[in-house]
Symmetry: C2
DNA sequence: CTGAACTTTCAAAACTTTTTGAAAGTTTAG
DNA sequence: CTAAACTTTCAAAAAGTTTTGAAAGTTCAG
């Protein structure tokens, strides 16, 4: 296999992989493209390589910058904007964890906390007692688990690579 | 807030939450509905509570059973099938991790391994040397990270609740 | 067997998300 | 300032996903 073919395959796979994780396919493909490029690329370069429209390229590159995965590079004597991807896999993972916690875990925790409060309020009718109790236990269990998972991810996100690898060794014992 | 309203809200939130994680909204809502039901429900019950069609209810209940999150219950003297959800949050988490590893992480790892092999093949032309080297390093880094993350998840999936909580304490030190 | 009770399937419709591309906006060289 | 070079926006179109519901399939009591 040619290296060009291999990179192509990498870009396609990264796109599909991203899609299952709730990330727009083009966004993931752009990320992959920038990861395998030896030079920063312009919007035009990306449009041509991925066969996508200007609007699509522009929007998704912005999104990648919002996530912190891609940064703008300027070349002297050139008005075009060029982009390059963060290549440190460890750093990439932390940025992704940060975004996903923000978007997915924290809103869910907020809802659970809210509903827990409701469940604690007085029981009005006798027959509700047991139902309410069961619901409360469920919410409490989910809350406990999610809070713990969230705090691990928080720790991960703030830690350095060594912490991760040291932790791994501990856990695998 | 009424308990009925609270459960309603739980079902809606679980649905939206699931959606961002690449799980069909109805599937997540059905799961939530069964989680908060004190009795097993029939397909008809689910159709009525969630206002969905028979086909939709049927397909997504099947999917939940494939994931192992829901099981069939039969009542004597009744030909209908009833369904109930696994309520142990820990167990639920393990089942979800198992499915997602299978569907998302493992296929990605397979692609990376395949591309790594390609990258190791002889360099044909002089100018390709550096490009190939850079690509190889990237693939190697991703592979290392993903393999480690996958093995933590594998361990998690096979472990019991106590392992998880003990590990947490260790990690948070 | 037969037919009622139930479950499954799947093509078409509804809905959601993504993409396009042209127009508007911004920046800068001259 | 002006106009060329570039970036951003967003309504409409395309693509993708989910849902519907009716027909086909299955099971089982009588």
């Amino acid at each position: 296999m040619e290296i060009k073919t291999a990179k192509e395959k990498f870009i396609q796979s990264w796109g599909n992989f991203g899609k299952t994780w709730g990330i727009n396919k083009t966004m993931a493909q752009l990320h992959a493209l920038l990861l395998v490029s030896d030079e920063p690329l312009s919007t035009e370069d990306a449009m041509e390589r991925l066969q996508i429209s200007r609007g699509n390229a522009n929007m998704n590159i912005r999104a990648l910058m919002d996530w912190g995965l891609v940064s703008k590079v300027t070349k002297m004597g050139d008005r075009k904007e060029y982009f390059e991807a963060e290549r440190d896999v460890w750093h990439i993972a932390r940025l992704i964890v940060r975004e996903r916690r923000k978007r997915e875990i924290e809103p869910m925790l907020a809802v659970i906390e809210e509903l827990k409060e409701v469940s604690l309020s007085e029981v009005n009718r006798e027959e509700e007692q047991e139902e309410k109790e069961r619901f409360s236990v469920l919410l409490e269990d989910i809350d406990q688990f999610a809070t713990k998972a969230d705090s691990i991810l928080d720790k991960f996100q703030r830690s350095d690579e060594n912490w991760f690898y040291r932790s791994l060794v501990k856990l695998m014992k």
